[in-house]
């Protein structure tokens, strides 16, 4: 189906089902239960899951296939956001032209940076992209203040000269982003017993775009183009002596992944119409590298998992504070309770980075293939139990992808 083989179609359908049912799946705990703080099914966070999913899928097309590690991908995300906000300010509050412009601008930007950076490979390429991203960050932060509004960040105001549409609504507020009238912030709440499920227009727009991006990524992975990209990663010498110029391939991959980042940036601005320079900072570039490696670089689903995993930690773990810990461990004797809290405390709240760092280390050391490899190992374990001796044969010469 859709020009994919059976395995990929199944994967796509599973991802689609999970994404579309996310408001249910991410909200397993009743609203007033003690576990409710682990619910991730609210619009803001779900949007972030899929938007960073798009970002990581795009990054993986470059890093996973060609092995070129870009440390400056956040620049394209930021450029996408700025373009989208400008489109809201000047043209209309419809998200479609904004998203289109952010993809195009990020693509052009990636073409320029890629053209220069791809003259080198390995660590030199990484440093070049990092330098470009930091340059972009500084430009956005100070030099280009008229365009980016400097450290305050670019925001909508009441006197934006919007060509299609009004500068402000009848009641004197800034109009909201929409898709042909459907407001991005509109949320339908479904209350089932103690549960409260939220269906948000913005989330579903982002989710559909993520599914399209994911589908396109599968097609690229399985195409002759994808094979050439893997060949670049595997052996450039042989590639060149086979009559192939590797530069156009890597540049195409770079631009495609830049456009994915632009799409993510445009979507971010569509959900919440502001753009700040911090979106381009190197920490943001590093985050997408972490997501991809944590999930499994070079795999299809890995980057999406990694993005979800990190964003979940960032939003849920960071919210746990001392008070919550006290309520969890209150059944223990006082001395023990305090010791335990003192031990756990550095890893939660503002310390969630510590937890993430440790998890990242564990994954890289024990599961070099990321969360996907973990999943595969568990899957193999189950299959072995089921079919006993047969598996000895099947594990022997399974073709590598």
């Amino acid at each position: 189906m859709f020009g994919l083989d059976k395995k990929d179609t199944t994967l796509l359908i599973i991802v689609a089902a999970l994404t579309l049912a996310a408001p249910f799946l991410l909200n397993p705990f009743p609203t007033d239960s003690a576990m409710a703080q682990f619910n991730a099914g609210y619009p803001d966070l779900m949007q972030r899951f899929v938007i960073f999913g798009i970002f990581a899928i795009g990054f993986n097309i470059l890093f996973g296939l060609t092995g070129y590690l870009s440390f400056g991908h956040a620049a394209f995300l930021g450029v996408g956001s700025y373009s989208a906000v400008w489109m809201f300010k000047l043209l209309s509050m419809n998200v479609l032209p904004a998203i289109l412009l952010s993809v195009v601008v990020a693509g052009v930007f990636a073409l320029l940076i890629g053209f220069v950076s791809l003259r080198r490979s390995g660590i030199y390429f990484s440093i070049l992209t990092l330098a470009f991203a930091q340059m972009s960050f500084n430009l956005a932060y100070s030099v280009l203040t008229p365009i980016t509004n400097g450290e305050t960040g670019l925001q909508l105001t009441l006197d934006d000269p919007r060509v299609l549409g009004s500068s402000s609504t009848a009641d004197g507020s800034i109009p909201v982003t929409n898709l042909f009238g459907a407001e991005m912030r509109a949320t339908y709440e479904m209350v089932v017993g103690p549960w409260n499920f939220q269906f948000n227009t913005g989330y579903y727009l982002s989710a559909i775009l993520m599914l399209l991006s994911f589908y396109l990524a599968i097609r690229i992975f399985r195409s002759p183009f994808g094979m050439m990209l893997r060949a670049v990663k595997s052996n450039q010498t042989r590639m060149n002596y086979t009559g192939l110029n590797s530069r156009p391939y890597t540049l195409a991959a770079f631009v495609i992944s830049g456009m994915y980042a632009g799409l993510a940036g445009g979507l971010m601005a569509s959900m919440d119409p502001l753009a700040g320079a911090e979106r381009m900072q190197w920490t943001a570039s590093g985050e997408v590298v972490l997501m991809t490696i944590l999930g499994g670089a070079g795999t299809l689903i890995g980057p999406v998992l990694g993005a979800g995993f990190i964003k979940y930690f960032e939003n849920i773990f960071s919210k746990i504070n001392e008070g919550i810990l006290h309520s969890w461990f209150s059944f223990m004797p006082d001395g023990l309770e305090d010791t335990l809290i003192a031990l756990v405390y550095p890893f939660i709240g503002k310390g969630w980075h510590l937890t993430l760092g440790i998890l990242f280390m564990l994954v890289v050391i024990f599961l070099p293939g990321g969360l996907v490899e973990g999943g595969q190992r568990i899957g193999r374990l189950f299959r072995r139990k089921k079919s006993g001796q047969e598996t000895d044969k099947s594990t022997q010469s399974t073709p590598a992808e």
Binding site: G3, L4, D5, R219, I220, R222, S223, P224, F225, G226, M227, M228, R230, A231, K233, S234, N235, T237, R238, M239, N240, Y241, T242, G243, L244, N245, P248, Y249, A252, I256, S397, P399, A400, E401
Partner: protein, 251 residues
């Protein structure tokens, strides 16, 4: 006039004359070996032939066109394929995919995206690749991870990948270096078979005399950067200058 003409090539690295007045002519559809003791300039010569090094003076013409200063992929597109001393294959890819890439490259030139079509549906390419693997007796290994194969199999695959593009000139750089005796003999047989079945010119740089004398029709002996003699294998075997170069004055 040969298909590959090297004229008056000189190359210096600082104070070292790596190549001095090298003249070489490789006749079309022949197998020409270049031998010489360590440091004779064999590898430098090969790097000049594939455009990787630009000589200080002289010219290298392939089929009437200069190869100097061209990029590796352009050299390949002129019809020159190169086999490396350590097999250069796409280690992360399966054997079949390894074989498909040169065929794609031949069909599409140096860049064509095909980002949406599925490579599994490129019937014609797969058929060609499988036929080539069949010729190499590697059809049963088509799904192997190519990095996990033996040195001999990797070499076989690499030669096959070069042949899949129907090159006019095949350059081999010590194709049996570091190989077990059985693998060496297999490689010799494969090269003999290629020589008999195809219209192809083979230029081979080799250390192993067994390989050279089983394959070459003409041999050039290189010593200290200059060609000592060029002749048929029979005459080279007994040539006093060659003995001298290899075994030293005392012999």
């Amino acid at each position: 006039m040969g298909i590959l003409e090297v004229k008056n090539v000189n190359k210096r690295f600082g104070g070292l004359q790596a190549l001095g007045d090298v003249n070489l002519s490789v006749a079309e559809n022949s197998c020409h070996a270049i031998i010489g003791p360590n440091g004779a300039g064999k590898s430098t010569l090969l790097n000049v032939l594939v455009g990787k090094l630009i000589p200080d003076t002289g010219s290298v013409m392939f089929d009437g066109q200069s190869v100097l200063g061209r990029k590796p992929f352009e050299i390949n597109q002129m019809g020159i394929s190169r086999v490396f001393q350590t097999p250069e294959i796409f280690g992360d890819l399966s054997v079949l995919e390894n074989m498909m890439i040169p065929i794609f490259a031949k069909r599409d030139g140096s860049f064509r995206m095909h980002a949406i079509e599925s490579s599994a549906q490129e019937k014609e390419i797969i058929e060609k690749a499988e036929a080539m693997l069949e010729d190499l007796n590697m059809a049963d290994k088509r799904h192997f991870h190519s990095a996990s194969m033996s040195r001999g199999d990797k070499r076989r695959l690499e030669i096959g990948m070069c042949l899949a593009q129907n090159p006019r000139l095949l350059l081999l750089d010590e194709p049996t270096a570091g190989m077990a005796r059985a693998d060496t003999n297999n490689t010799i047989d494969l090269l003999k078979q290629i020589k008999d079945e195809r219209d192809i010119t083979i230029a081979i740089i080799e250390h192993d005399m067994h390989v050279v004398f089983s394959l070459a029709e003409r041999i050039t002996v290189l010593a200290q950067g200059t060609p000592l003699v060029e002749d048929t294998p029979e005459k080279i075997k007994g040539h006093p200058k060659v003995r001298e170069a290899y075994l030293g004055e005392a012999a």
